[in-house]
Symmetry: C2
Subunit: 124 residues, 2 copies
């Protein structure tokens, strides 16, 4: 089975920052900076996890999960992250949308035959 | 430039259903049903758009946007969709997580050189 797993933040309420994007052509330093930003975010107070992927058709979706609005604002104001966002607008993204949302309920599922100890859903 | 664009729902508040998943091996009828479900969802009252992609590493993220909780519940209870969810647990998914969230603010960006008429962001 795959080692990739969806992020499982603790029980709601928590916050989700949904970032959907289409890249410009070429790397332009993107891959390295994107990895740095994921590493930096993971060390921020209130960070609860992240799901991130980009399909062959070009659409990227990154959802990061946070304890509260304060932790989202602190990450927004983090200096390296603010510089990376400016570089994103200058070089990396053709278009993007960002949605800040309060998660009110969540569910999860793991196949019983996919692992020896199944993790029960939270609320199904 | 790419023809793919992030969904742009109208101004908040609206709701987002974040579905992150890892597939089982093989198609097992998934692709056709997934397309049918996207088409059905798009015809539901209160549907505001969808962003969906799956990366080569196997993680899929689908975010659908809805006007309110009522439209999410009506879609959840739609009979074809309920059957597809059961098939998902039986056949298609190794694991998934679902987060239902109220979007409180949103922003978007389109490169000025990417199109002749730039769409101003909503709130940056």
């Amino acid at each position: 089975m795959s080692e990739i797993e969806p992020a499982r933040p603790p029980s709601p309420p928590y916050y989700a920052v949904i970032f959907t994007s289409v890249r410009t052509d070429g790397d332009n330093g993107y891959e390295q900076r994107a990895e740095e930003m994921l590493r930096l975010a993971a060390g921020q107070p209130g960070f609860l996890g992240v799901d991130s992927t980009r399909g062959a058709e070009g659409l990227g979706i990154t959802v990061s999960y946070w304890r509260d609005e304060e932790s989202i604002k602190a990450w927004r104001d983090q200096a390296d992250h603010a510089r990376a966002r400016a570089d994103g607008r200058a070089h990396w993204y053709s278009s993007y949308a960002l949605h800040v949302a309060r998660v009110e309920r969540s569910y999860d599922f793991t196949r019983a035959d996919a692992r020896s100890s199944d993790i029960p859903g939270r609320g199904i």
